[in-house]
Amino acid sequence: MRLLPTLLGGAAAVLLAAGLYAGLVASPPDAFQGDYVRIMYVHVPSAFAAYLAVGTVFVTSILYLWRGRALYDHVAHSATELATLFTALALAGGMIWGKPVWGTWWAWDARLVTTAMLFLIFAAALLVRELAEDRQRGARLAAVVGIIGALDVPLIHYSVVWFRTLHQAPSITRGEIKMAPPMVAALLVNLLAFTLVYLYLLLQRVRLERLEAARSAAAEP
């Protein structure tokens, strides 16, 4: 059981290093974006990890409400925290990339707005859990918010897309970017690396959660 986190952490570290090399050294600058394209090798994987976390919250919240096993709640809680972390990283990366490439920190782009909304919803889920009267109730209520939030993701995304595009032409038109093989490789390596980082953090956080639960169970008479 203790071997798995070590292996996962090691593999994540190696892949992150490989991803850094592939992203900073091996891949060429983009024809349009120049070196700024390298931000994408971090930005896209963090957004991907954020969606993985949202998916995890959705599935484990349903399982927790259905089966009531504490482990599901530990995973859901940990994944909710990671969802806020990775949506924040994706937002930061997107804005840092947007400033030089789009010329503005923030565009009213569907993906940016959806990510910001996700960040707020899952932060609210954490607040509900913390402010609930007791631990068990907090777990159930946070699971409910998690399920509603995850179900809302496609609705929010498409409503923002249609809201922006039906009335005004997109202010920024990005040409079809054809990617060279080294760039695809850099993106894929980083995607895999971030997935492993996500799984590693999730595993460690769940372990911590179990220890905390055991401690508070021991403290109660």
């Binding site: 609210a124 402010l131 409910v144 939030g149 179900l151 409503s159 809201f163």
Partner: protein, 220 residues
């Protein structure tokens, strides 16, 4: 039949309480009118802005009303008594949902009248369409609002958390209702699409929220 009568009794109770005090509708109406006046003043009072201003005002006022609604239940310990009654808790959900929907429809009617005056729009001919579109938006808003109100009963600082939960989740309702209202008022294209968005939101959350409501109301 029994389920139907229980739901109706709950709606009647909620609306009767509201009618006697008229606290919620007064504060909601006041806030909504303030938002309309402030936004109209700072953004300019062109008729084209009216749908966006209407729905932002309604949504903000709704967060106030939805959390106020269950607070009254808790303060007077009505909820505990209601939960003691045997049978399914889903009727409680539908009763609260229907009462909240009626309350917000009343608010919508008042706001439409205010907008017609303040923004100089002729609403009479399109009033049934506007109310119909408004109902689609409000039904979805109340579907999640009723659930969140029940959820926050056992959470500290529930009035503070309600906007944080309700506003981001209800974003599709805001966007859909704004565009649909625009389509009705000015014949802008895309009305059918937004009708679909609102319908999907309504159906999804009116199916899911009652189930989760039962979970929330279960004693942990």
């Amino acid at each position: 039949m029994n389920a139907w009568r229980r739901t109706v009794a709950l709606v009647r109770k909620d609306l009767l309480l509201e009618w006697r005090g008229r606290e919620t509708i007064t504060t909601m109406g006041g806030l909504a009118l303030l938002v309309v006046l402030l936004l109209g003043l700072v953004l300019g009072g062109e008729a084209a802005r009216a749908p966006a201003i209407l729905w932002v005002a309604l949504l903000l006022a709704a967060t106030l009303g939805v959390s106020r609604w269950t607070q009254a239940e808790v303060e007077q310990q009505a909820l505990e008594t209601l939960l003691l009654y045997p049978g399914s808790r889903e009727h409680l959900y539908w009763g609260t949902w229907a009462a909240l929907t009626l309350l917000l429809m009343t608010l919508l009617g008042l706001l439409l009248a205010a907008l017609g005056l303040l923004f100089n729009i002729d609403l009479w001919a399109r009033l049934p369409l506007l109310l119909g579109a408004g109902f689609l938006g409000i039904a979805g808003l109340c579907a999640v609002g009723t659930l969140f109100a029940a959820l926050l009963v056992h959470v500290r600082g529930r009035e503070l958390l309600m906007p944080l939960l309700l506003l981001p989740v209800a974003l599709p309702v805001l966007l859909g209702s704004v565009r649909l209202t625009e389509a009705i008022l000015s014949g802008a294209p895309g009305g059918g699409l937004w009708l679909g968005v609102l319908a999907v939101f309504d159906i999804l959350f009116l199916l899911v929220a009652p189930v989760l409501y039962a979970v929330v109301m279960e004693e942990a």
